[in-house]
Symmetry: C2
Subunit: 380 residues, 2 copies
Amino acid sequence: MSNSSKENYSDDFEVTPWNVEGPVDYARLIKKFGTQEITNEILKKIESFTGELHPLLANKFFFSHRDLDWILNKYESNEKFYLYTGRGPSGMVHLGHLMPWFLTKHLQDKFDSNLLFQITDDEKFLYGNSTMDEIKKNVNENILDIIAIGFKKSRTKIIVNSRHIKHLYSNSLEIAKRITFSTAKSIFGFTNSTNIGMIGFPPLQGVPCFLPSIIEGKPTPVLIPAAIDQDPYWRLTRDIAEKMGFYKPAQIHSKFLPSLQTIGKMSSSKPETALFTTDTPKLIEEKISNAFTGGQPTISLQKKLGANPAICSVFSYLKYLFDTPVESNERELKCRSGNLLCGECKHDLSNHSTTFISMFQERREKAKDLVSDFMYSEDS
Amino acid sequence: MSNSSKENYSDDFEVTPWNVEGPVDYARLIKKFGTQEITNEILKKIESFTGELHPLLANKFFFSHRDLDWILNKYESNEKFYLYTGRGPSGMVHLGHLMPWFLTKHLQDKFDSNLLFQITDDEKFLYGNSTMDEIKKNVNENILDIIAIGFKKSRTKIIVNSRHIKHLYSNSLEIAKRITFSTAKSIFGFTNSTNIGMIGFPPLQGVPCFLPSIIEGKPTPVLIPAAIDQDPYWRLTRDIAEKMGFYKPAQIHSKFLPSLQTIGKMSSSKPETALFTTDTPKLIEEKISNAFTGGQPTISLQKKLGANPAICSVFSYLKYLFDTPVESNERELKCRSGNLLCGECKHDLSNHSTTFISMFQERREKAKDLVSDFMYSEDS
């Protein structure tokens, strides 16, 4: 499936909801997907509501959107929006997964939004080699991560597709009836060898775009913070939203946190490429010590020529997760000029990561008592 | 969709799960679908269990099968089978719909079988122009017809897809994952303009083939009595059954009760072509009086040349629903020889139909108190 849509992109990277490969050119992706860049004007508008700009907005980790300006105008005229994000439970959660959730929590706090959090266990079963039992275990683990983010209990509902299918099904049918195979094929690159479950699935990921309007009994704006690879799912619902009497869902898209090992995004299926929320401090240190950097082969060469932070996974982790913009700029200058060795950056990242993950693990433990409070309904 | 698969059949008739058109050549259909003719040997074997041969078997209204011999052998060696049949709630129920249910009830009585009765409200929404609300009304009406057939309460469970989707969904995913678009396309004739709900739907109609094995905790034979147009759905599950650790579902296929108006099967969407279980006696008489027969333009011509029962809807109704085989043979001879006028046959059919439907309507009324007893589970 992933290969089939390759022709839509360049030869050196690929972004689909199921596969991200190669060095992603985000500016080109905006053009390919037909989304908008997040301008400084929009950032200023957000800041006018939130009082401060979230680091993931300030450092442009969130870089693209659809109708973000529109939804801010709606908010300004007293139409509150729902947030909607999700998780495909293909394995344990790593830091890359958390990043859109950090922004989602920030937006929930600042805009006092209700949040629907969809877990697409069905999709992950249909795409991939895991059994439903394996995926169910992932779901239960992933729910702890979601709760550990700190979303407001009273304003957050987690939907697990296979558990809550009865609540989703009728709306899913309404969406499915309006989408031809031709449209779905052109968006997702389905081929003859795609299983029919995958072809039938996209409407289910569309349902939470419209569920807020159904819950509220009136058209209700929805903002989806997510990594940009998931955009095709909601592009599909945008095309039919107005015909169904709903608003088009607005979106705010993040980049991918790179792999620790090579170029590309982190991956649950390759554990050495990512820092998981359940990793031990020792494992975190090991992974970071083996991480791919932009450094020179020897210390003396690095001191002489400087290194390349643009391709360095350690630099990216520090920039997007732990450094302030000022700290990150300073780190970049020192790195390029040969005044910073990779070992120091790895040391910084290890310290930050072990501290963060150990704190997160405590919250994950506490989350175990809160699961039922966060579930969409009681029929799980 | 219906046109797309036309190339698989001859030019003068078409049989798909959603459309039956033209004069069906059943012998050719057996070859096209790759099913088996029900031989006299099989009929004798059935008779050895049931003591008498059901009229719909004796008169070859049920004419085709898959693995019927196998399931009888299983029964002989003490492996009991489940029955599974269904209803697509596109409208009210007519006599043509009842006929597979009559045989199903007979088999339930004689073989003491459990029965799963699936109502595919989702399919009828995805294919066609009805709203979900209209279809829900049909579902409630159709359930009364099903119960009025007289199935055993303790051995019968009605499944309504949208109500019971949570019980069906995981198994549906297991089926869906094993079927490529290529396979589904070749069986159902899906095209670029097919909506993705229709493409994703077939696994749901497959679930009750395997549900008995899941309920019983061991591979359990299933026999599906149904009109032959539904065969493609189960052909699909037969291909993957053994890989999933189940038996292939066996089937016994009926012909279609013809339209009262022209050649072709009765249709819920053309009320004048069918006798509905909710029709008044007056309406039944009207429809029959306008029915298409094999008669001559004038009485004198008919007395001279005789008529043609082979193309006569009234003759078919009498043969398959009300005449004994002996009566039907006699009627045929008299008709061909000019000793029977169409008015007499219409009179006979009116009498039989109004009597039957009035009795059925009484049972339909009583069924209203039994609905919850027949539902698959309480979460409706």
